[in-house]
Symmetry: C2
Subunit: 472 residues, 2 copies
């Protein structure tokens, strides 16, 4: 019944349909899948103990309370900021005080961009103060600002078609929200494409599933050989309004002022803690989230939640006196928002040991009530993950979806290591993502408890099984 | 079946349960309810024609387009502002050009408050820029601002209990959102209650069902004999954060600067247009919304939508060549947000004619897809309204709820005139209400079409029936 239900998410059941008989084809392991299933089934009591502790026991609400204390104390933690380094120092101390092992910091050079003062005012057809958030890595405007007429487009195609109109203007993108990965191209490439056709600046409709006049920031990328122009996000509301105005033939003029500046790289750290494996200490299951955030809101959701359920996973396992055969390694990444700088540095430093990585996990899409686990790996590994997720039946989160990912773990996944991420309510996530609204108010302690339980069960069982997850 | 379904909203079916036999008890009218039912049933074709024109015909999306043009052109329309007066002049012209009758302006003196520049910064326990919106009628701070420690309370009761702690402080209210009418007491009375215990200013958690770090403004009221202190709304997020900080024993210090100022009253107008009744021109069915708004967003939802579906109701009826027996009067109120100033003035001017008012209608709770009609009136009148609403079966909006209301029509309702309002998705409404997010982006042309159809059918049929709605 469960297996039939699962088919709608596109999962191929190589083993489960004739479980007990099937064996791994071409597998180095001689164990039947039935043996693996039985091994996993033996973790039922451990899974229940983890769930009980996380959801009903003394650890209840702990990850929420820990997170609230950190983000209320240090606030948002942008790459290069004092508050990020303060957060790293606090976490270093927290992890030691929590009794975790091999707590240490791994140095990373990270970008340092600051938005400074910024403002935009519509001067024509009527005076209107426009909410903006400059985009990460954008240059600023001259102190007097850039005052120019606006060209509104809804796509890169329209910009190409109307290229002759763009010269000397501020390009406003009013692209519809399709999904994050598609629509974010406008935020990332908007300035470059506008600059190519001679625009002075670009203002991009926030990449958001829902808006209460909320601008959403994020990284953007310049291209060698293309002039750098200032670029910021505006609200969905203002993008739509300017689109309506333009369609009525109104001339729109905006004055844009941005004090944004890129400073030299600064020293930062990935924060690491472990529960060292009892039998295969050199083998690793990595659980992670990123500690940096954007400079608005509190970075509670992106990615305080992911970082803190990852810590919580180790805390829960330690509190229960468990020690898996493999090493459970917690990494709190730095400068994820700048393009996975911490994650890339970690990969460079540790990739020589790649054959010992059983699973890499990152939670960076919300820690609300999870829909399930996203997973990338061989079909054999997927079948094992499905069995492991069935241990989470008590909290009714058992689904294994496709496409496990995370900016910081993608380096490993692309090199063939199985990868898992937590799938969540993405509509909610992208309502708050990179906005002033990313605060503790979005977070729910009960939901974090469940997310932490999922994270702990998966990481512990995979770290403790007899064999590493099979690769392709 | 329909009647049984209806009982869950608490409607008493004096007549419908034995329809065809029942007569009005003690009624001056000699008609049976069955006769009234039959009369209403004859409007089935008219109702369908209105619905077809509004939802599928050439009038489709008209109220949305008209509204977008107005609010994009003039922006928000606070009481006392040039933009409100500009909007009134535009509407005066619009209504004349639309071919409506007796288009005129009725003078009203209205308050003139401006927020000026305003800001709040948390200085302790960490630097944090706090989003605020000063509340209507609030005084400003001295130019250097008010810098003081914060006392966070979650209720007026807690403020009373901790009164000795409040002196010389800024009181922050972190009251939970229960519903608008309950919770809004904190916005309206918060300053007075804080001033009574010696506070220097008050910051009130926005009265909102949902937040993306969005402050919501609105009117507040000082009391004679109580010192006036500056007062503003903060976001749900910051109120909750300060509550957490206070519960951890953090000392919180805020610097509040508000340039708010009350200016002398200015001249404004209620905007009136009619379709004059063919048989009883002195009798009136009033349809209305308010043209003023707060000074943030576009006032598209509150109450552009209500004003424009009211206009649309008359447009639809006129376009179909219909002329009801009674006069259909459109009123676009001024200065509703200041406490129904325009509505009160209108009542004073017209109450001598109260016996000729069959029904007063106001839409001021959103023009999304309506749940139905809220109605206050005698049970006889309610039974008639239910029959009228059954004409809206084609758009599946037939329910009649209790408690028709509207700031501007309550004067009439309290004096015994039947009153109706449009009931809508209040969670959505209070997500955007009085915030920067009240823009055309919230509005949906298809939903406005349906809302306008409901509004037009109800107002036309009640205006055209043989008899006025019976009163208690
Ligand atoms: Zn993130
Ligand atoms: Zn209103």
């Amino acid at each position: 019944m469960k297996f039939l239900l699962f088919t709608f998410v596109g999962v191929v059941h190589l083993f489960s349909l004739n479980s007990g008989k099937a064996i791994y084809k071409n597998d180095i392991s001689q164990r039947t899948f039935q043996e693996v299933k039985e091994e996993i089934a033996h973790y039922g009591d451990v899974a229940k103990a983890i769930i009980n502790l996380a959801v009903y026991g003394i650890a209840r609400n702990r990850s929420y309370e820990r997170l609230a204390l950190l983000v209320d104390t240090v606030g948002p933690r942008p790459s290069g900021s004092k508050s990020l380094e303060k957060a790293i120092q606090i976490m270093y101390q927290n992890l030691q005080e929590d009794g975790l092992e091999n707590v240490h910091l791994e140095p990373v050079k990270i970008p340092h961009w600051e938005r400074g003062e910024e403002s935009a005012v519509m001067l024509e057809p009527r005076i209107h103060k426009i909410a903006i958030l400059g985009l990460g890595s954008s240059i600023g405007t001259p102190p007097e600002g850039i005052t120019a007429e606006v060209l509104v487009v809804t796509s890169f195609e329209e910009l190409q078609r109307r290229a002759p109109e763009a010269r000397g203007k501020i390009v406003v993108y009013n692209q519809p929200y399709v999904n994050y990965s598609k629509t974010v191209q406008y935020r990332v490439q908007g300035a470059v494409e506008a600059a190519k056709v001679g625009a002075l600046a670009s203002l991009i409709r926030s990449v958001a599933s829902f808006s209460i006049y909320s601008p959403h920031t994020g990284i953007q990328e310049y291209q060698d050989g293309v002039p750098k122009i200032p670029t910021a996000c505006i609200t969905v509301e203002d993008a739509e309004m300017m689109s309506r105005m333009a369609s009525r033939g109104n001339r729109i003029v905006i004055q844009l002022k941005m004090g944004a500046k890129n400073y030299p790289d600064v020293d930062s750290f990935n924060t690491v803690a472990e529960i060292i494996g009892s039998k295969y200490p050199e083998q690793v299951v990595l659980v992670s989230g990123h500690l940096d955030s954007w400079d608005v809101g509190q970075g509670a959701m992106d990615d305080g939640g992911g970082a803190f359920i990852s810590w919580e996973a180790l805390s829960l396992i330690k509190d229960l006196g468990l020690r898996p055969k493999r090493t459970l390694r917690l990494v709190l990444w730095t400068a994820e928002e700048q393009g996975g700088i911490g994650g890339f540095q970690y990969y460079q430093l540790h990739k020589a040991n790649i054959s010992n990585y059983s699973l890499v996990m990152e939670s960076d899409q919300g820690t609300f009530l999870p829909s399930g686990l996203q997973f990338t790996g061989s079909e054999k590994a997927r079948a094992i993950m499905e069995e492991v997720m069935s241990l989470l039946q008590p909290v009714n989160i058992t689904q294994v979806f496709r496409a496990g990912e995370g900016t910081d773990i993608n380096f490993w996944i692309q090199a063939g290591v199985p990868g898992a991420s937590l799938l969540d309510d993405l509509y909610k996530y992208f309502s708050f993502h990179h906005s002033h609204g990313d605060t503790m108010t979005v977070m729910d302690p009960k939901q974090m408890n469940v997310a932490a339980a999922v994270w702990a069960v998966v990481s512990y069982v995979i770290a403790d099984m007899e064999e590493m997850l099979p690769r392709s």
